[in-house]
Assembly symmetry: C2
Homo-oligomer: 138 residues x 2
Amino acid sequence: MSLQQQPAKEQRRTRQRAAVDEVLEETEDFISAQDLHAALRSRGMSVGLATVYRTLQTLADNGQVDVLHTSSGEAAYRRCARDEHHHHLVCRSCKATVEVAGPAVERWTRSVAKEHGYVDVAHTLEIFGLCPRCAAQA
Amino acid sequence: MSLQQQPAKEQRRTRQRAAVDEVLEETEDFISAQDLHAALRSRGMSVGLATVYRTLQTLADNGQVDVLHTSSGEAAYRRCARDEHHHHLVCRSCKATVEVAGPAVERWTRSVAKEHGYVDVAHTLEIFGLCPRCAAQA
DNA sequence: ATGAAGAGTGACAACCATTGTCAAAATGAT
DNA sequence: ATCATTTTGACAATGGTTGTCACTCTTCAT
Ligand SMILES: [Zn+2]
Ligand SMILES: [Zn+2]
Ligand SMILES: [Zn+2]
Ligand SMILES: [Zn+2]
């Protein structure tokens, strides 16, 4: 999501990071740090909460996971399929996520910024709704 | 007999709400609940912090102010000029804000959602950058 | 104007996601 | 193995936001 990312600083391979990676790999939807921590515990792969936060922070800084800020302000993380810049269509109810790219939108944001003389521009864009399955119920 | 309630639930006119309204009216940029509370105190118009939060919450629910979630997760509020749906180009440094509308973007989000069968759709879109003035310095 | 009904207030506690601390443990290079 | 450096984790601390609840203020019918 972010346009810029730090040159990945050296990191050591630890049991904890492998565990976080594993859960991220197997998790299709966005997941919060707290929930990831709980998921680890329930799998017997106990990792300190602070470590989970730090690991996710680093992954996000390196652009290896996408970050989504929920309406409640909680941050959620997801290992996305595509590596290039993109956005998300997220189910408000079950969190089912679709990755979407919109070149036109990218052009539009750049042109708007330029038009007003803003530089060093970035943007956030998320689409929320009810996925077909959740819409079918109710 | 009593009248039925309108979409906007009935509200009483109180000194506190008038005070919050006044500050919002005179504030050009997005402002957080905490900062608004401080601004009120410094003007001698003391209002309880909880009341400031509740008032802003209600204004936001009624669409009378726009809400922006900063990167730090803090919520900021702003009384915008236009009443119709729009987005914001915000200076990362001084918070200078430009209201922008993008019909094409609106169409795009709707089409993307429809394409994947998502309904009851909404979206968030904010553009961040450095305004001309802030860019001039540094 | 008066009083009842209940919406609104505020000082304070509680909540909770996130970050800071720092001694102990783990890692990678020598 | 040894050492310098990084990482960890239990716990404390932070900070924005919400919950509590007795008291106050608006509103409205009388
Ligand atoms: Zn769903
Ligand atoms: Zn984009
Ligand atoms: Zn600026
Ligand atoms: Zn829009």
